[in-house]
Amino acid sequence: MAKYMVILHDSMPALRKMSPDDMQKVIAKYKAWSAKLGQAGRLVGGEKLFDEGGKHLTKTNGKMAVKDGPYAEAKEVVGGYFLIEAKDYTEATKLCEDCPHLELGGRIELRQVEPT
């Protein structure tokens, strides 16, 4: 069983217009989805990243440059990730199929974690 990182890109303009009630329902959906993976023994973990305050680090001529914002260039923010276990990419994709993130118009990036 390999580990996969489910990276959630948060660019969901739909959220701006959503009612509080609907947002609450969406949270319940996410929780149901992760609970399902958890029960199947496929969920290793998940974290939310801070929306703001991230840093970009670059080094030129031996000098470290620190720029504010995790998304100085990229339009899409990485909002958080889940770590799941799956046999292969096909199965990992299948596990993410009903992730509410997609319904909301968000993008999911799936990356296999190289075993150490």
Binding site: S19, I27, Y30, G45, G46, D51, F82
Partner: protein, 432 residues
């Protein structure tokens, strides 16, 4: 905390909606009504943050405190960006910190309850046009989205959004404050609030189209806000009580108004043992307190009518004489043809279909109800009861053309069938 842990703080139903009202009211007090839109944005951002965080990190132990903290941070960010507010930043920052402390200390009692009350009154500020007041109340007090407001009032979403923008601009241009108005201004404002809640309830109660006979949410919201008004001395007037009583009595019959197949159950046919007794007795509590002042509003009379239905053991054993008297009084105050129509239904029970039909002719003469499906339904019932089947059928067909709600359409189809098979009983549709 990882999402895989089995920690789950359950999310209370309505939590976000309640929090929306609470946060918007709090922020509006601090930023001023001119910045209501900013208060809404900040609140929305706090929810978006929760949506990003809670599914992955788990629901915090105290969700409200979490939201408040995030809203505070977002508000301060927004203030730093907004030059017009920058000079007030230190004061507001201090106030926000204080708010959080009070929230932490507050056990049970919501320290911002008063903000919400003022918010309801702000939505009915004279600068806001009558049409926009309900929309604004639902949006910023009750936590409805623009599309939910639009759906509730069968309006175009864009039009509602524009209306809301105009309403907020009007508040800003009028220099509206967040203070509780005093004296005559408060009375006038409270009148406006009553109208808004009545409209809200009525819209939910009548549902003009679609599958659901009543958009219960609207009724529940109107009742909640009325209850909230009764809890404060400044707004809990006898008229507010009358309004709350009226809502309670009507709400007590929600479950019985439509059967499981989605058929309309008229008042005459409802199983009265299934009416909500708790709501009925709450209604009587309000009604008793409604009678403590000088005021006699239409809400008083309507609440009395509703109470007479609530205590009647059956349709036949209802105090129709008293109900007709109430309608007489209501008609005197309002002169409304819809009231006159309701009165005809009561007259039929008291003095028979023939007399009722004579009175209906009077109502008909004004022509105001020609496009109101219930007018034709009442007429059809009376004609049917008098054995004039062809005319009754024509009236039913006219009613069906005008009725927009599917359950009502089905009900009319049933009545037409009954007419065709000569199975007309003395029970009919009750327009209220």
């Amino acid at each position: 905390m990882a999402a895989s842990s089995d920690e789950v703080t359950p999310l209370v139903e309505r939590l976000f909606r309640d929090e929306a009202g609470r946060l918007i009211a709090l922020l509006t007090r601090l930023l001023g009504p001119a910045h209501l839109a900013l208060a809404e944005d900040v609140t929305q951002e706090a929810f978006i943050a929760a949506l990003g965080s809670w599914p992955r990190a788990g629901v915090p132990r105290r969700p409200s405190a979490w939201l408040l903290q995030v809203a505070r941070r977002k508000a301060l960010d927004a203030l730093r960006r907004d030059r017009a507010l920058a000079d007030r930043l230190p004061a507001i920052a201090a106030e926000l910190e204080d708010v959080e402390r009070r929230d932490d200390a507050g056990a049970g009692e919501d320290p911002f309850d008063d903000d919400r009350l003022r918010m309801i009154l702000l939505c009915c500020h004279p600068a806001v046009s009558g049409d926009s007041r309900v929309a604004l109340t639902l949006k910023v007090v009750s936590g409805f989205s623009v599309s939910e407001v639009a759906r509730a009032f069968l309006a175009d979403e864009k039009a509602v959004a524009q209306r809301l923008v105009r309403a907020k601009r009007a508040l800003r241009d009028a220099g509206a404050t967040f203070e509780m108005p005093e004296g005559a201004a408060r009375d006038a404002r409270l009148d406006a609030v009553h109208s808004v809640l009545y409209l809200m309830f009525n819209e939910g109660h009548t549902a003009h189209d679609g599958e659901s006979l009543l958009r219960r949410d609207l009724c529940v919201e109107a009742l909640r806000l009325a209850e909230r008004l009764t809890r404060s001395e400044s707004t809990g007037t006898p008229t507010t009580r009358a309004l709350a009583a009226l809502f309670c009595f009507h709400a007590s019959r929600f479950d019985e108004r439509m059967d499981q197949k989605g058929h309309v159950a008229t008042l005459a046919r409802q199983d009265r043992s299934r009416w909500d007794v708790a709501l009925i007795s709450r209604g009587f509590e309000h009604l008793a307190l409604a009678g403590t002042g000088e005021a006699l509003s239409t809400f008083h009379v309507e609440a009395e009518i509703a109470s007479l239905h609530a205590i009647a053991p059956s349709w036949a054993a209802t105090d129709w004489a008293r109900i007709v008297e109430c309608y007489d009084r209501l008609l005197m105050i309002t002169g409304s043809p819809v009231v006159a129509l309701n009165r005809v239904v009561a007259v039929r029970e008291l003095r028979g279909a023939a007399n009722a039909l004579v009175e209906l002719r009077e109502v008909e003469r004004s022509g105001a109800l020609d496009r109101y499906h219930l007018f034709h339904a009442v007429r059809a019932e009376l004609l049917g009861a008098l054995g004039w089947s062809d005319e009754a059928a024509r009236a039913w067909i006219r009613a069906r053309e005008l009725a927009k709600s599917n359950p009502v359409q089905r009900h009319i189809a049933q009545r037409l069938d009954a007419l065709a098979s000569n199975d007309v009983d003395s029970e009919g549709i009750h327009p209220s």
